[in-house]
């Protein structure tokens, strides 16, 4: 900043800050709407005018996790009194929770959420593991045609998912990998591997070679130096890369839509399929969306200092 600031400059600065605050509110409004709808009574989700302030309740989450049917008759008072609080909320809405004996029947949501978790975690571990080794190779050794190989690796990331999905669908059908966790994990590893190599190479390049060379002089083998010196130094980079890969796999929609439909279906294709016909229950959809977005929101804050590097494949650091 220039040393001398005129009053008009100060005013301009203030106006810019106010504009930033207004823009932030606008950008967060849709996210607020998802979060607030998840805690609204059903009728307030579609009220005119839209409801901003209300008494929050957790009924949408109870509906999200349970299988229910519409009640033909009002519930018997003694049954209602004996029911736990969360079941009363469902009776209040004119519905009944389905049970087998004493066990409450769960909706498909927890299963889909677990599928997302399984696929995202396993594919992340594999992509980051392989990516770290490969990045070290590219960072430390002379490789013929290095630039071309790196371009080849990155270009696999840019392939449109639907283009790759057509032959993969046919091949998976032949070997029985359709609608399987393994099938989806393989696709996500292939998708995230290039990203992980590029990002990790940036982190590896930042670790001084002298560290390993000193270890080699001290009698370490190259592998020992890699595991005992390089990996601990790269821990932050590995964590950041892993979180990015997790978010990508967690959010992925096209492959999941095409390759899975029941057993291995993840949350992103499942949540839109809840809309169904007729008037959708937006509070339950919002509750599912809210729980699905929550881990990503938390990770975004943990990643905040690495976001720039992540979205540019490690090319731009700060």
């Amino acid at each position: 900043m220039a040393a001398v600031r005129t009053s008009s400059e100060v005013a301009l600065n203030r106006a810019a800050i106010v504009a930033v605050l207004v823009a932030t509110l606008i950008f967060l409004a849709p996210i607020y709407w998802i979060a607030s709808t998840a805690f609204k009574p059903k009728e307030l989700a579609v009220s005119v005018p839209p409801t901003v302030l209300f008494q929050p309740e957790v009924t949408p989450f109870i509906r999200l996790f349970t299988k229910r049917v519409q009640m033909q008759k009002p519930v018997e008072p003694q049954v209602y009194e004996a029911a736990p609080w969360w079941e009363k909320r469902i009776y209040d809405g004119g519905e009944r929770v389905l049970k087998v004996g004493k066990d409450v029947q769960l909706s498909q949501y927890p299963n889909r959420f677990m599928n997302s978790l399984i696929v995202a975690v396993i594919s992340t571990v594999l992509a980051v593991g392989m990516g770290t080794f490969t990045a070290y190779g590219f960072s430390r050794f002379k490789i013929a045609g290095e630039a071309d190989l790196l371009f080849f690796i990155l270009s696999t990331r840019m392939l449109p998912p639907v283009v790759v999905a057509i032959p993969m669908f046919l091949m998976y059908r032949m070997v029985g990998l359709n609608d399987s966790h393994i099938g989806l994990i393989i696709l996500y590893v292939a998708f995230n591997l290039s990203f992980s190599v590029w990002l990790m190479k940036g982190f590896m390049d930042e670790i001084p070679k002298e560290y390993e060379e000193a270890a080699l002089v001290d009698g370490y083998t190259r592998m020992q130096a890699f595991f005992k010196i390089v990996l601990p130094e790269a821990a932050t980079g590995i964590a950041a890369t892993a979180v990015f890969c997790f978010i990508t796999a967690w959010n992925e929609y096209a492959f999941a839509l095409i390759m899975t439909n029941r057993r291995a279906q993840t949350a992103p294709p499942f949540i839109p399929s809840q809309i169904g016909s007729g008037l959708p229950d937006w509070t339950t959809i919002a509750a599912g969306t809210f729980l699905f977005l929550l881990p990503v929101a938390i990770f975004t804050f943990l990643l905040r200092n690495h976001l720039l590097r992540g979205v540019t494949f490690g090319a731009i650091r700060k």
Binding site: T24, W33, T134, L170, A225, W282, A315, I316
Partner: protein
């Protein structure tokens, strides 16, 4: 003594004499990744290139026939496909232009010090980290003609954003702008913070006006990074599938990726879909090439 002789060699070869050689390690670290990518990315593409010359349909059992270039000829003379490309072009231009303007604008506003700047910047970046399909779905409620908050706030009555053929594509583009302007903002902020302060000080001493400083100092120095953002977003917008697919079913918003999906997995016209996939692939690779070229340029600085 062997150990005495080894002390005269450089450390790398001493290590090599003890454990695996560097060459072995290099191959061990790199080859599995390359093989994995070739098996699961390149081989499928070769496989589908073969099918693109046939009339294969994945939902039928009767044998397929080799049809030569017929699929490509039919696609290139199909008005429907051309209209999908025109829709995609419109979408790319509107949404990328919007993201560049909003994103760079936000970065200009943020490029000063104020309390809680870090927190606000991170909050602004939230939309781009979220699942386009899931968030896009929820925008259906925001755009709803009967109870959507957007129509209420802007007093648009019962304007049906997503079921009106004229507005559906732009409604999706607005959501995309909301989602990805933060990306342009993030890159622009990096570019802006790299502009040396002394240039601004020199301009101030010369009593240069705001516009002059902006066009002669800020823009030229930020433009390489803006170009990266522009190319990357263009490529991503061209491939858009999820957000448009979950938001609307309007034929006027049928992007090329959606068309490809329907042709392959709803009409099961597999051979022709492989051909269309190749046409799309070549266009994407052309943009990717450009992107990597500029990425390397910025990286070298």
């Amino acid at each position: 003594m062997a150990s005495v002789a080894l002390t005269h060699l450089d450390p790398a070869s001493r290590a090599a004499a003890r454990g695996w050689s560097d060459l072995t390690i290099r191959n061990l670290f790199i080859i599995p990744t390359l093989v994995f990518l070739i098996v699961f990315n390149i081989f499928p593409l070769i496989y589908s290139l073969g099918y693109s010359f046939t009339n294969f349909a994945a939902n039928r059992t009767e044998p397929w026939q080799f049809v030569g270039l017929q699929n490509y000829r039919e696609l290139l003379s199909d008005d429907h496909i051309w209209s999908n490309f025109v829709i995609t072009a419109k979408y790319v231009i509107v949404s990328v232009a919007g993201q560049m303007i909003v994103g760079f604008g936000l970065a200009l506003l943020l490029n000063r010090s104020f309390p809680m700047k870090g927190l606000i910047t991170t909050l602004l970046l939230l939309p781009m980290m979220m699942s386009a399909a899931v968030v896009g779905l929820f925008w259906q409620l925001l755009y709803s003609p009967s109870w959507g908050p957007i129509n209420y706030v802007f007093g648009l009555g019962d304007f049906a954003w997503l079921s009106n053929p004229d507005s559906a594509l732009y409604a999706v583009a607005i959501t995309d702008i909301w989602m990805w302007s933060p990306f342009v903002m993030l890159l622009s902020l990096a570019g802006l913070s790299a502009v040396p302060q002394h240039l601004y000080e020199a301009a101030a001493i010369d009593r240069a006006g705001w516009w002059y400083t902006f066009t002669r100092i800020t823009l030229p120095l930020v433009s390489p990074i803006l170009l990266i953002a522009l190319i990357f977003r263009t490529m991503e917008a061209f491939k858009t599938f999820d957000i448009a697919y979950t938001m609307t079913t309007q034929p006027t918003a049928e992007l090329i990726a959606i068309r490809l999906y329907k042709q392959a997995f709803q009409q099961w016209d597999t051979g022709k879909s492989c051909a269309l996939a190749y046409i799309v692939l070549i266009m994407v690779l052309a943009i990717t090439n450009l992107y990597v070229k500029y990425l390397n340029k910025v990286k070298e600085r």
